[in-house]
């Protein structure tokens, strides 16, 4: 078991090392190595999940990595049903996206760097899934941030470079809290092992306030990685990366790491912490869905949709907490990984065919040119909209049901958001895929390569079927079924009705509002330019942060730098030389004098400083 997990973890790292050594100028070789390592991961995972390599019980194995005084950090695996589920998602979706990326990157000059980055990402992400303790998880957490940085900035343009930097720094802000939370955890409970923490928590009484603090600090990490408000600003910008990267990292897996972390440390959150988390998740889910209406770039729309769905997952966790919240959020994470990866790859297929055109109002009529892409994209749209009996329906239903029992206000907000989801997704279908072509590039578009379509079709099967837990490997099915609330018979009927109305109604609304073949203006923008402007500017979050960075942070930095120059270097060191130079003017010439006094005054300053400070003590 350890050996299998170790192979799953390390094979992409070896691939990345090989690419770094030999693949810099050999794009094909790099792609082959990277895809092979992802394939190996997926195969071994399937062996564990369905091939009988794992008996479904919790597995733990550790080795000491570092010991310093009281601090001991272990390297180890903690593999349970929840990690098995995400491991399956990461390796299978990851492998499909690798396959798609081979075709997508055929005109990329830095293919080696691209696939090297993908492999580093797979290594880090697998590490997060398998980590036995919080310190180890943090290490892979940061590495995931690094690979995300590397891949967002892949094209080296101004936009890409700025987006990469922003993503890393915003994540660091989250990690600041996360790291403090882990360290606090360590001193509070004496361990950060995910296996030992629950016992330590129940064994030592902790003040509610401390526990809330620890929980919220850990949640800071989630806010960074899973892009919850107000740390969501990096994710839409991250769309500057190649589209397979957006699909893999910024939709299906990495951004889900935060939700996974919530599930991993579910036992630590008390009701106070959960209520804060719920508020953050609701705000993210609702506002992002609104912002999606103000975008015309197909990837940006999908990015805001991802934010909104991540909000759903966080809400799912916060509504119930504990293992029920964890399982419900993981379920939505799983179905979302399939349909959102498919949406992004579909968008990638379109973008690739339209020579990197991303504005939906320059597209139109693509369904004829790219039938496979269209059908798969449509299936994913129906799934995310929650059309009954597709994957999204089941997982979203579970969340709505939780909300209905736990928090009516949250329930109604989620209902509205679900409706909005169907509408903004319908907008893409009606504007970009149906109607007539709006530009020459789109007219000349043709269907993508078969290997790219292969990935689309497999993911489409997932997007349709991922909601049926009966199809899952036994261990995973029993985990989800045991922890997710079952609706009663009456509830079942009413939920089905609600879902059908929300999803189909939303799509219908999109048809009436947005289906204007040949026109390349946004109907909503024309009707209400003021409201549209607010949504386009996304409530000015980015402007606010830009203003802070430019006008506050940088000015403070410059001011401190000037103060240092004037006060410490100027007054204390040089200036004192100048004053003393006046006194000693008769004795020496000004320029040599300043050097001598420079020395004496410095000595006197040090002495005075030393005396006064110690005098205070």
């Amino acid at each position: 078991m350890t050996r299998t997990l170790l192979t799953i973890l390390l094979s992409p790292l070896c691939a990345a090392a090989l690419i770094a050594l030999f693949g810099r100028r050999r794009g094909r070789l790099s792609a082959a190595i990277s895809v092979a390592s992802a394939g190996l991961q997926a195969a071994l995972t399937l062996f564990l999940l369905v091939g009988g390599g794992w008996d479904g019980s919790t597995f733990r194995d550790t080795a000491t990595w570092l010991t310093l005084g009281e601090l001991q950090i272990d390297l180890g695996f903690y593999f349970n049903q929840m990690s098995a589920l995400l491991l399956g998602v990461v390796t299978i979706v990851g492998f499909l996206i690798h396959v798609f990326a081979v075709g997508y990157s055929d005109d990329d000059k830095a293919r080696g760097r691209f696939f090297g980055g993908l492999s580093i990402f797979m290594f880090s992400m697998t590490g997060i899934v398998l980590s036995e303790n919080l310190f180890m998880l943090f290490i892979f957490w940061e590495l995931v941030g690094f690979s995300s940085y590397m891949l967002i900035g892949h094209y080296l343009t101004d936009v890409a470079s700025a987006a990469a930097k922003k993503a890393f720094i915003v994540n660091r802000v989250g990690d600041f809290g996360f790291l403090l939370g882990i360290i606090w955890c360590f001193w509070q409970f004496g361990t950060v092992s995910l296996a030992e923490l629950p016992q330590a928590l129940s064994a030592s009484p902790v003040a509610a306030c401390t526990l809330t603090f620890i929980g919220l600090l850990l949640f800071c990490g989630v806010m960074g990685k899973s892009a919850q408000m107000p740390l969501h600003v990096w994710l839409p910008d991250a769309m500057a990366g190649p589209t397979p990267v957006s699909a893999l990292i910024h939709a299906a897996t990495m951004v889900a790491a935060g939700v996974y972390l919530l599930g991993r440390v579910a036992f630590i959150f008390n009701p106070q912490a959960l209520s804060v988390i719920l508020a953050v998740g609701l705000a993210t889910a609702f506002l992002s869905a609104l912002f999606a209406f103000g975008q015309t770039d197909i990837k940006k729309i999908l990015a805001y949709s991802t934010l909104s769905q991540l909000g759903f997952m966080v809400v799912a966790f916060a509504l119930a907490g504990g293992s029920e919240g964890a399982a419900t959020s993981q379920f939505h994470l799983t179905t979302h990984a399939f349909f959102k990866a498919l949406l992004f790859l579909g968008a990638g297929s379109v973008i690739h065919a339209c020579h990197h055109e991303q504005d939906i109002y320059k597209m139109g009529g693509l369904w004829k040119k790219m039938p496979v892409t269209f059908v798969t994209f449509l299936l994913a749209t129906l799934a995310i909209a929650g059309v009954p009996y597709l994957s999204g329906f089941f997982s979203k239903d579970a969340i709505l049901l939780l909300a209905k029992h736990a928090n009516p206000a949250a329930f109604w907000l989620l209902v509205v958001t679900s409706f909005l989801t169907a509408t903004y997704m319908g907008r893409i279908i009606f504007v970009a895929f149906l109607g007539k072509a709006r530009s020459h590039a789109v007219e000349a578009a043709h269907e993508s390569r078969p290997d790219m379509l292969f990935a689309l079709v497999i993911l489409a099967i997932g997007a349709v079927l991922a909601g049926y837990t009966g199809l899952y490997p036994h261990a995973l099915a029993s985990y989800l079924e045991a922890n997710i609330a079952e609706p009663t018979h009456a509830e079942h009927a009413s939920m089905l009705l609600i879902s059908a109305i929300l999803s189909l109604g939303g799509l219908l609304a999109a048809f009436f509002i947005y289906y204007r073949p040949g026109k390349n203006t946004d109907t909503f923008e024309k009707a209400a330019p003021g409201v549209y402007g607010v949504l386009r500017e996304k409530l000015w979050f980015d402007n606010l942060y830009d203003w802070y960075v430019r006008a506050v942070q940088q000015r403070v930095a410059n001011l401190v730098a000037i103060l240092e120059l004037v006060v410490i270097q100027g007054v204390l060191v040089r200036g004192s030389g100048g004053v003393a130079g006046l006194i000693g003017l008769a004795a020496r010439r000004a320029h040599t004098g300043s050097l001598n006094t420079y020395f004496y005054w410095f000595a006197a300053g040090v002495l005075a400083f030393w005396l006064t400070t110690s005098g205070i003590l």
Binding site: R24, W65, L66, T67, L68, G69, E70, L71, I139, E142, L143, F146, Y149, G153, L156, T157, D158, A160, S161, A164, K165, F168, I169, R172, F176, L179, L180, I183, W184, F186, W187, Q188, F189, G190, S204, P205, A207, C209, T210, F213, Q554, V556, A557, N558, V560, A561, E564, I568, Q569, V573, L595, Y598, F599, F602, V606, F609, W610, T613, S614, L617
Partner: protein, 537 residues
Amino acid sequence: MDTSCTCPFTHVGSAVLFASVAVPLICAALLYLGSVPKMVAKVMAAIGFTVPLVLALYLCTQFADAVKISGYAFYSDASLGLPAAGISLKLGLNGIALPLFAMAAIVSFAAGIYAIAGNQDRQQLYLALLLTMAGGVLGLFASIDIFFFYFFHELALIPTFIMIGIWGGTARRVAAIEMTIYLTLGAMLVLAGLVALYVGSGIATFDFITLRDYLAANPLSLVTQKWVYGLLLIGFGVLVSLFPFHTWAPRGYANAPASAAMLHAGVLKKFGLYGLIQIAAPLLPDGVGQWTNLLVVLALGNILVIGFITMAQKDLRYMLGYSSVMHMGYAFLGIATMGVLGLSGAVIMMFAHGLTIAALFLMADCVEKRAGTTEMASFGGMAHETPVLAALFSAAIFASVGLPGFANFWGELSIFTAVFNMNHLVGALAVLGIIISAIYGLRASAALFFGSRSAAYEKRIAANGKPADLTFAEKLPILVLLGALMFVGFWPRSISDSINAEMSAKYPAAPVQQVVPSAAASLSQDGDVALSGERKF
């Protein structure tokens, strides 16, 4: 005069340690003697830089099983005829000195290779001075005798001044003079403190082992400890650019020739921290706690104030100089905790920072050689022309911002953990540094290598053609430095076990609050900014 000992070396390891300090110094001496053909000078320098590296790596493999005399492996004692003054050339390595000694050897090798491949005027003198520095820094980490510890520092410091004065950048005169005055003054304070120890102990010896054993049995009075430690703290602090005594560092490094900056910022500067950890704290245990508050405040100054100043820098070398000052704040905080974890973290930080900053200064020089400037605004998109330089520079930046996978991460993590336990607020403020360093670090690599070209860069390309990527002689030292960082990053126990063993022996488990403080205590601590000044260990 001591004539009884014919051979000071008890084991092979002792001779190896002695040789690794002596070889660079002998090579330097030969180069000082007279002018030799360029090729000969280069070969001799190569020997002087390579031999210590090979020997140091050999010693690392032998350390665990080596015979330890009073805690020191590879012990040797060569009397130089000064027994009356209590001075003899005692060399040896303990668990703290070993990784730093290895770091010194690696950085010396990297700086040396880069200097040999370069083409300074009067290269023979340049190499001779650099070899002297290398011998000095290796000697200071290998010394047990406090006199020689100080002597080797001065031996390495003087060539630094000379090299800045001769081969430095545009502001070299001011930089060299400022640095000389500051560092000489710092060193004088240290000397005063060390002499006070020599006199105060009453046994008139500079031998650290004797002093340690004697003072353990007969500790100095609290007042004496307090003042002597204070003297050493400020003196060592100036040498390590403790805020606000840091102004010499950025200007000095910005104007120093690359190899000198690498060795000084990377290795020699660690003298102060090393002195505090290895000498001052063990000999003056009760004096340390008296200064904790001050040290914490100043160290936070290093991290936060200097961190912000680093963000405002427009020149790459100044940015690196300030960032190096900032990172010293972490090490000082580690020292302020006076526990095994924090002090060990400080040692790992010293190790990692030495390698990182050396790699960064080297690459800053590579950038300047290609562009004639290090003004960050006059670059942009250079990754298209120099992909390898861009990749290695980014890697070094990520090492310096504490990305896991590099040794720096372990240093920061242990220091943060220890500091948080000392005081939650100080811990939180220290961890803020991970955001600050990410901001200035990523900004720098973005400004140089990514995005579109600046007008100035376009102009240079039009005039001089596109810059070439790194040559082998430039790549080799960078890869050695980053390789060592990643080796320890992936396998921290390669250095942490020996550090932990040594620290645990020096600082037996701290009985104060720790481990599982009661909830109430941690809550009151949360709101309580004041530090416990009277920490015992």
